[in-house]
Symmetry: C2
């Protein structure tokens, strides 16, 4: 497959899986000491990657959690973020200013910080109590390696809280992800190329998703199409679409629908039924189209975000090639002062 | 002022204020019986109107809260939503299907439901334990009347939880809102007309806000510009702007920046500094420009969402007149089947 190094992909996801042992020890230690709530915190990509974790906690746990944008957390100083809190965050470079500052603030009020980073010793690692590193991670494989670890962390908290009976099967599924997601990328490659070719010059995409792939919807729109391809988007939750954005539906509008196998799938089905009556430009990214060898049917919905991410990486890469627009080019971010 | 009936506005806001007595009794009763968490729930406009309440709870309270889209709540069935929960919701017509269904689900698991509605006896009122009605409320005055009551509810829970020392002053400020917001509308009228005239044919607006006016940002983009004017938008949180959407900045892009007086104001200042270097089309909606007679300086930031809403109503109305596009016209919503 173009724009993709399978050996590195397997290695990085394998490292994420092998971190699970240490993750369990860290979480067990925190649970022994006691805590009251979790804060999922990040900036842009790492903010959106926390979304499926919040969905897992919402649907399978009673642990109180909060989902925060780093730069806002620093200003808002949430009153429930204190010495009884655990902050879970990530930064590939470990140099994202707002994320570092938010982690430092969290530590200053006595919260414990768990950080996923590229290299240990990076600035974010300096203000974390528990650090899990993955040295060869890059933008090509980042999301899935972070999902594996984020999910392993949250699942362990849930198990230790006497809930989430699916724990063992879920973690076993996470361990299979390097193999499973490689197959997803292979199966998705042709579809992704066809889509990128057909939409080479499409100026705007309306992205609609829900549940545990809402983060993927938001992230693909903002961090891939806008940031890496300079293509305009709007992302809207499928549960909100009918309460405003529906009026923008137009025969010329391109819709990308992000469909998970979780409980909220029917919300996107409903949007699909509607938009298909009004435009031919509808692309459904559906995790259900993939075999996921060895993954139990009842666990499949829980890993939909990982599958979606692997699917979308192929779309990003083909867009960058077909449009001759490298994914690393920026006009402003870390280029100009602001 | 055009498109606006001052007498009705004062009456509807006055009714919201006069509901505070009964709101206090209801909340006191719930607190006496005990509860563990709050769910702010709605669809579209009423979902976004809960946003400043979540921000108030985040910054001034330790009560666990959750913010839910009605249609997703029904599917996801949050595990923490149970007999120890209080659901706070609203629907002007009282007929929003998803909101009704979510309220019914909440009651089925034993949660208490507080609903703000137009007319008592509407379908939503049938599945609520506490109902506060405001018969003459309409789209022209809806947001502020809901804010007054939402804030009064949340503030009472916080006071009864032994926190929010600003309670008395805050409620006293809410009581002054009919007078204060009328003055805001008058002062804003000319600016709003000038903006609507200048942007009569602008095809797209990038809306950026934060903190307690994030809900206004999201809502103005989706429920006013998209739904009521069919003008394309994207709304993005100021804390996220620099992590992707920044790359779309262009000399031709119109930016609307929504500036509150809360702790996150500097996040929008930062976006403003950046975009002013790249485009001349920057409109800042700033609550600070208004006098707010009788409101204590330290309470001002807490009522920014109300001020912003009053400011934006003028913009909506002038857009509808200048563009000859009535705010009630819909292509699809409640017009076609879906």
């Amino acid at each position: 497959m173009v724009g993709y190094d399978e050996a590195v992909y397997r290695e990085v996801l394998g490292k994420a899986v092998s971190n699970i042992e240490e993750i369990n020890k860290a979480v067990d230690e925190i649970c022994d000491q006691g805590y009251k709530n979790l804060y999922l915190m990040g900036s842009g990509g790492t903010y959106s990657m926390a979304s499926p974790v919040t969905y897992l906690l919402k649907t399978h746990s009673t642990i109180p959690w909060n989902w925060e944008i780093a730069a806002e957390l620093i200003k808002a100083k949430p009153l429930s973020l204190n010495a009884d809190s655990v902050v879970i965050t990530a930064s590939l470079s470990g140099t994202t200013t707002e994320t570092i500052e938010a982690a430092r603030y969290a530590q200053s009020v006595g919260a414990k910080v768990i950080a996923l980073v590229g290299e240990d010793g990076c600035p974010l690692a300096e203000c974390a109590d528990y650090v899990f590193e993955n040295p060869n991670a890059s933008n090509d494989n980042l999301v899935e390696e972070i999902y594996i670890q984020y999910f392993a962390i949250a699942a362990r908290f849930m198990r230790n809280n006497g809930e989430f009976p699916e724990y063992d099967e879920f973690v076993s599924a996470l361990r299979k992800m390097p193999e499973v997601l490689q197959a997803v990328r292979e199966q998705q490659d042709e579809t992704a190329l066809a889509f990128a070719t057909a939409h080479k010059d499409t100026p705007f995409h309306m992205c609609v998703g829900s549940g545990n792939v809402w983060g993927e919807t938001y992230c693909f729109a903002m961090c891939v199409l806008e940031e890496m391809q300079w293509i305009a988007t709007k992302s809207i939750h499928a549960a909100e679409f009918f309460h405003g954005t529906i009026e923008m539906t137009d025969p010329d509008m391109s819709f990308m629908l992000f469909k998970s196998e979780d409980e909220t799938r029917s919300l996107v089905d409903r949007v699909e039924r509607f938009v298909r009556q009004h435009t031919d430009k509808v692309q459904v990214w559906d995790t259900k189209a993939f075999e996921l060898d060895g993954i139990d049917p009842k666990i499949r919905p829980l890993v939909s975000p990982l599958v979606m991410s692997a699917m979308l990486e192929r779309v990003s890469t083909h867009f960058s090639i077909v449009r001759d627009h490298d994914l690393d080019i920026r006009r402003y971010y870390r280029v100009v002062e602001y």
